[in-house]
């Protein structure tokens, strides 16, 4: 899995469990739900599909599952093209947000259900169900009906039903979103353990960036049907490919400040409201190469410092979270900049005039027009 | 597409039944109406175009039949609903053993038209019946009496439908949130005021609905007429459906019966359209 976490390697064939190639989905009413999308999930890897609601992540999952047909493109499970293969024959199992347990069947029968349709002998079925139930701590609940279970138990039954088939890939559609906050954190950890133990290939859809970051070997960020970036969580966090990713990942989200590029023969600088910042040489070179006049500077809240730096600002709100503080500042033109500080840092107060500084190695530069990352 | 094939296979059994026993006979009525049945069997039928429609629909017998049917509906529908509503309101209270009363009030659901008619026919029988003995006596006897026969049939029908009416009104009543009635009580409304100002307005969709459905049923009433009065005396209870039946069975006049059937359909359609309008209103109330 550490191998898998290295980055987006675009290879076909061996080692790939699920692959989407140039897949699009346009609905009958003309709405394009999914742009051409390419995605390779390696065997044993957990890839999170992350994005706001309506970004196409569930559509992508349903296309992999075979519940929806792509308008164009190729879907592979393993090395097999499955575009014309029915859902039941794709060797994938799915965990639904609503769990989709059959309310009239006991836990035992729910878990057994996918095996029955495949004509597996009774003994083997029983063994498999027992195994799955043991693995998820459901042994005592096998005779109950879903209505008699708690939310967390139902969730585990849904997982057991998915596991019992030993599919080539697990598809999970926001499986934790119906749990309360505490249970969610706990189940998240259990899911990670399960994924490791089974060395299972998982495509995991979520709108929760924390979930995506903590669970995914890689995360794929979608917006409006288009894949924005795919990579290991830390890489995506450190080097967001564009403004959307930059702002979607991280909480509080990345500060963005509009700026003008001022280049002379020596160096490249950017002009911010109330300050001019020299860019370090490699960054400056990249900006110069891009030839953009207007850029957007991005800087994560934890990288801004209130230290009497050259960027003038006024503190407007201080939010204390106990272990840390979020200081909301406004630049001269009203742009909001959030500073994240340790709880014991020098106390700023609302109304204070302060100077902010931004280490240039933590400065992200985006093209103002396209939103694309310009440098480093 | 396979899914489409399966879908057609699934709706096919129903469609075959509908086609053979609803749509085909329905459409054929219009065709049959163009032909006059000869006075003696064996002679060829004679196509007369719209003449038969005009004759039948303006005939004294038809207009009388419509009048009788409307009158029958007027006798049975409002009274039946009022009785059901009254019983439903009375039974809608928390009293020990109220379930027994509810069961009794809905019990006539278990009776059929034939059961109700035979019982009432016996009760009204001038020789053995209880009601004549109690002084409810007319000359000629009730079911042979032009001014009483339809009323007697109507009462039989009201009784037979009472259970259904009660159940309908009860479930409408149960849909009214208790808080509304409690609020009215706290506001100082007396029982009558609560009935008039809260229950009836909130139940009005159910009531309108019951009026329309009840009227449609009333226009299809047949068994009680056939068992109690055979349309008599002198066609005073000759409701439309019974008229169709005798035209078909006794006169063997398919053409005329078909025109009458079309008329029955027309009236039902009218009532259904009214119902649709009311259902829209029902949605409005439900919000």
């Amino acid at each position: 899995m550490t191998e898998a976490a290295r980055g987006d390697v675009d290879v076909d064939g061996a080692g790939i469990a699920v692959s989407l190639r140039e897949v699009t989905k346009t609905y009958d009413n003309g709405v394009m739900a999914l742009g051409p999308i390419d995605l390779q999930v390696r065997k044993g890897e957990l890839v999170s599909l992350l994005g706001p609601s309506g970004c196409g992540k569930s559509t992508a999952l349903r296309i992999i599952a075979g519940l929806e047909a792509p308008t164009s493109g190729t879907v592979r499970i393993g090395s097999r093209v499955v575009n014309d293969v029915e859902a039941k024959d794709r060797d994938v199992s799915m965990v639904f947000q609503t769990y989709a347990l059959y309310p009239h069947m006991s836990v035992q029968r729910n878990i057994e259900f996918p095996l029955k349709s495949r004509g597996m002998p009774r003994d083997e079925r029983a063994t498999r169900v027992r195994e799955a139930a043991r693995g998820l701590g459901l042994e005592g609940l096998l005779d109950r009906k879903p209505a008699q279970l708690s939310g967390g138990q139902r969730q585990r039954v849904a997982l057991a039903r998915a596991i019992v088939r030993r599919p080539a890939a697990f598809l999970m559609d926001e499986p934790l979103s119906n749990l309360d906050a505490k249970l969610r954190v706990q189940t998240r950890a259990e899911l990670i353990e399960l994924h490791r133990r089974l060395a299972a290939t998982v495509v995991y859809v979520t709108h929760d960036q924390v979930e995506a970051m903590t669970m995914g070997d890689r995360i794929a960020i979608l917006d409006r049907g288009v894949l924005q970036q795919i990579g290991p969580p830390q890489a995506v966090y450190d080097e967001p490919a564009n403004l959307f990713v930059a702002q979607f990942i991280g909480s509080p989200s990345m500060n963005t400040i509009g700026a003008r590029v001022v280049a002379d023969s020596e160096a490249v600088a950017v002009e911010l409201p109330g300050a001019r910042i020299m860019l370090p040489a490699p960054t400056g070179a990249a900006v110069a190469r891009a030839g953009a006049d207007d850029v957007v500077l991005g800087v994560r809240p934890e990288h801004v410092r209130i230290d009497g730096g050259q960027l003038p600002a006024t503190v407007s709100v201080v939010e204390s979270l106990g272990h840390e503080r979020h200081v909301v500042c406004r630049l001269d033109d009203g742009t909001m900049v959030i500073v994240r500080e340790a709880a014991d840092a020098s106390p700023a107060r609302a109304g204070d005039a302060v100077g902010l500084s931004v280490p240039s190695e933590h400065l992200h530069v985006f093209d103002a027009g396209s939103g694309r990352r310009v440098a480093v | 597409m396979r899914e489409a094939g399966l879908a057609y296979a699934l709706v096919l059994p129903s469609l075959v039944v509908f086609g053979a026993f609803i749509f085909y006979p329905f459409v054929r009525n219009f065709y049959l109406g163009f032909f006059r049945t000869p006075p003696f069997p064996g002679l060829p039928k004679k196509g007369v175009g719209l003449t038969q429609y005009r004759e039948v629909l303006t005939s004294h017998d038809f207009l009388n039949s419509v009048k009788v049917t409307v009158l029958f509906a007027v006798y049975t529908v409002p009274t039946g609903i009022a009785a059901g509503l009254g019983l439903a309101v009375l039974a809608h209270q928390k009293l020990r053993g109220i379930g027994i009363y509810r069961t009794i009030f809905s019990s006539t659901v278990a009776t059929s038209v034939a059961v109700a008619s035979v019982i009432f026919g016996t009760l009204l029988n001038p020789n053995v019946g209880l009601l004549p003995w109690l002084g409810l006596q007319t000359n000629p006897s009730i079911l042979q009496n032009p001014s009483w026969a339809l009323l007697a049939v109507a009462i039989t029908t009201i009784w037979q439908n009472l259970g259904l009416s009660f159940i309908l009104m009860s479930s409408g009543l149960q849909a009214i949130p208790d808080e509304l009635l409690e609020a009215a009580q706290i506001d100082g409304a007396g029982a009558w005021s609560r009935f008039r100002n809260v229950i009836v307005p909130l139940l009005s969709p159910t009531i309108f609905f019951a009026v329309v459905v009840g009227s449609i049923f009333a226009f299809q009433s047949f068994g009680q007429i056939e068992l109690l009065t055979q349309g008599g005396p002198t066609k005073h209870t000759n409701v439309l459906t019974y008229f169709i039946y005798t035209t078909l069975q006794q006169q063997q006049d398919d053409g005329k019966a078909a025109v009458l059937a079309i008329a029955l359909f027309g009236i039902t359609l009218l009532l259904t359209l009214v119902q649709m309008r009311l259902l829209e209103r029902r949605v409005f109330y439900a919000r």
């Binding site: 519940l67 859902a87 039941k88 799915m94 639904f96 769990y99 989709a100 059959y102 009239h104 259900f113 349709s117 | 489409a4 399966l6 879908a7 699934l10 709706v11 059994p13 129903s14 039944v17 509908f18 053979a20 609803i22 006979p25 009525n29 009375l90 039974a91 069961t103 809905s106 019990s107 278990a110 059929s112 038209v113 034939a114 059961v115 035979v118 009432f120 016996t122 009760l123 053995v128 209880l130 003995w133 009472l162 259904l164 159940i167 309908l168 479930s171 329309v212 449609i216 299809q220 047949f222 068994g223 056939e226 459906t241 169709i244 039946y245 078909l248 069975q249 059937a261 029955l264 009532l271």
Partner: protein
Amino acid sequence: MRGEAGVTEGRPVRRRFAIVARYALLTVLAAIVLFPVYMAVVGSLLKTEQITSRPPTMLPTHPTWDSYSTAWSAGHLATYLRNSAIVAVIITCGQVVTAILAGYAFAFLEFPFRRTLFVVFIATLMVPFEVTIITNLNTIVSLHWYNTYAGLTVPFLATGFGAFLLRQAFLGIPRDLQDAAALDGYGHLRFMTRVAVPLARPAIAALAVFGFLSAWNQYLWPLLITKNDQLRTVQIGLRQLRATSIEQVNVTLAGVVLAALPLVVLLVVFQKQLVRGLTAGAVKG
């Protein structure tokens, strides 16, 4: 304060009176509703000669079951009841099956003309059966189904109402369940029998009870297409019984009680389904 004391004294008495008054009213009304049935039961327990006695007998002091055995065998009630049961069961099963199939198609399948076909199904509700009897009688005769169970049942084996009711019930099944079943390896037919139908049981029960009730109570159609006691249903049988035992009202009334009894049992056992079916059935129009 003084006034309040008066209220606390007066209230229990007034309240108790109000409760007694309510029971009294309910009991009187219940008696009125039950009166015709009571008289029928009493009449059925009398001897033939007691029937015409004046004043009429209100309490059967020496009840006799003679009229029941007469109605049962000589009056053919046994045959009539059997016929009614056969006819009602066939119609009920037919309606349930066709409604499940069609309701499933409308709820779960995509196909061309789905909306149009659904309108066609609903349109059947607008045609009263009485309107179709002329040609139906011809059809049944030419199929040689006159005076047969087929003639009594086939025209009623499908209803638009049933398809509509079950479509609604099926639409209440979460889409995720259907998707899960598809992934679990279940095609439409198996999803229908193993998931959709079990989950729609309340609606199916309501439809079955409603269908049975309507079939059992049919009058016009069995009257038109049966000609002898071998095929007559109990409703037409009552008519026959009354005609053949004019002088024996007690026998007729015994027949009435026997004819009503199955539905009384049905009402008691399936009260909930019946209520649901009737209130849904009222939508039928």
